[in-house]
Symmetry: none
Amino acid sequence: MTPRPRATSATETLDIAAVARLTGVTSRTLRHYDAIGLLAPSHTSPDGRRHYGQAELLRLQHILVLRELGTGLDTIAQIVEADDPTITLAHLRDHLVGLTAERDRYARLASTVARTIDSLEKGTTMSHEEILDGFHRQYEPEARERWGDDAVDRSNAQWKALGKDGQQRHLDTHREVVEALGAAIRVGFRPESDEVQAIVAQHHEWLSLFWTPTAETYRGITQMYVDDERFRRNYDEIAPGAAVLLRDAADIWAGRHLSS
Amino acid sequence: MTPRPRATSATETLDIAAVARLTGVTSRTLRHYDAIGLLAPSHTSPDGRRHYGQAELLRLQHILVLRELGTGLDTIAQIVEADDPTITLAHLRDHLVGLTAERDRYARLASTVARTIDSLEKGTTMSHEEILDGFHRQYEPEARERWGDDAVDRSNAQWKALGKDGQQRHLDTHREVVEALGAAIRVGFRPESDEVQAIVAQHHEWLSLFWTPTAETYRGITQMYVDDERFRRNYDEIAPGAAVLLRDAADIWAGRHLSS
DNA sequence: GTTGCGCTTGACGCAGCGTCAACTTCTAGG
DNA sequence: CCTAGAAGTTGACGCTGCGTCAAGCGCAAC
């Protein structure tokens, strides 16, 4: 005796948009799942619109859990088709092995990269060459696994030469920015001045050629210019305080132009 | 004055197969990298064959390191194009965020899966025949693609190697195990007896087709046979106490034969 | 001559949808 | 009742990073 809303065709089913909202998938995905036979709607209204019932929602739940775990849709199909906790269990057991392996892989990668970055940020007298060399060495264990010893040894020997060349080109390109900074210092411009902000924009553009920093990472980079002796010398030998000026100006500039 | 090997066209360059062997990538990948402009050969001989020099090897090395980190090829192209340690390091900094996020994601997934397994183990209500039948049908086609894991590769290979007859025999094995357990109970064998231990070995072999249990998980599984009503009934309908006997025997067997 | 290896280009295929495009249908407003 | 707009539909191509044929060419051995 409870009042039903407009008994046209809706009993307890949800249309595709409602399911999309509830589960967070797109309607396109639901159509895709229908197309590949992974999840059919409970019924379609005469005009072709898809409607989903509770059973389909549960099945979708199951699908999404497995998908979240990185399982392929075909495998998911077989698992949900079986609709059997024990099958799922067997699958999960296998999957757990893969997941922990991936976790460990990423943990190793992250720690390697972090150490590389640390050695850069804290490196007292570390040159670009040494950084690069160290970077390369960090990957030796993995590289040796994949590539074999002789290949790694040979590439290690050649690594410096290439890096040296690239380093020189980088410094040349960069010098314009640094000299502009030096000029700004001698004239006494402040970080928030249009002139210095323009230099920062140039610096950022230079950096953005290959990589798009966020506000946070851009601030981090310019902070690094101050913290790291090797970098700071690069700036300050043009004009004392250049690194600090760049950092301060970049801090302001990032707040104005970069999304945090 | 050092003797050169056949000065036809080879000075110090490597052909595509040699590069493939050294670096572990396929020749197809090298051609792909050439096609998309990521890594061109140093020169091509008149018949169209690609040859790579030391510089190309180093560039490839750089590419592969970045690829290993999960960087997309387009981004890799920009980074190696820059050929600048600072850019590379900036990228690493950026990438570290993604790596730790991925690591955490997988860690969360792994723990979620582990807990899901736990709860499923307690709630599972399937007979082994159904498990086996469903498993066989479901994993035959596609699991191998998704799961490069050794365990699944091995289990599928074993399953296929069994052939139709062998597969059927394997299906029968479980019943043999259960009936042998029943017989052992009726005769009054103890868990540590050679007879019961042999049954456990058979059971473990049967189970190993689906995943490779450690001592811990094998004990967990057999414990589940006792804890879960439906499983226990499967065993105990053959002979009362079969599940408990299997668990106790498996506990001993695991300690003797499985690494913890 | 011919067999066979190793290379070449060209093409299609795969997952898992995103993203138009072109069309229909339902609903609300005037 | 007409009309605009929102939201649905099918169909198609696009994307990444190659794997995997297919067909052909050059070179060396038999």
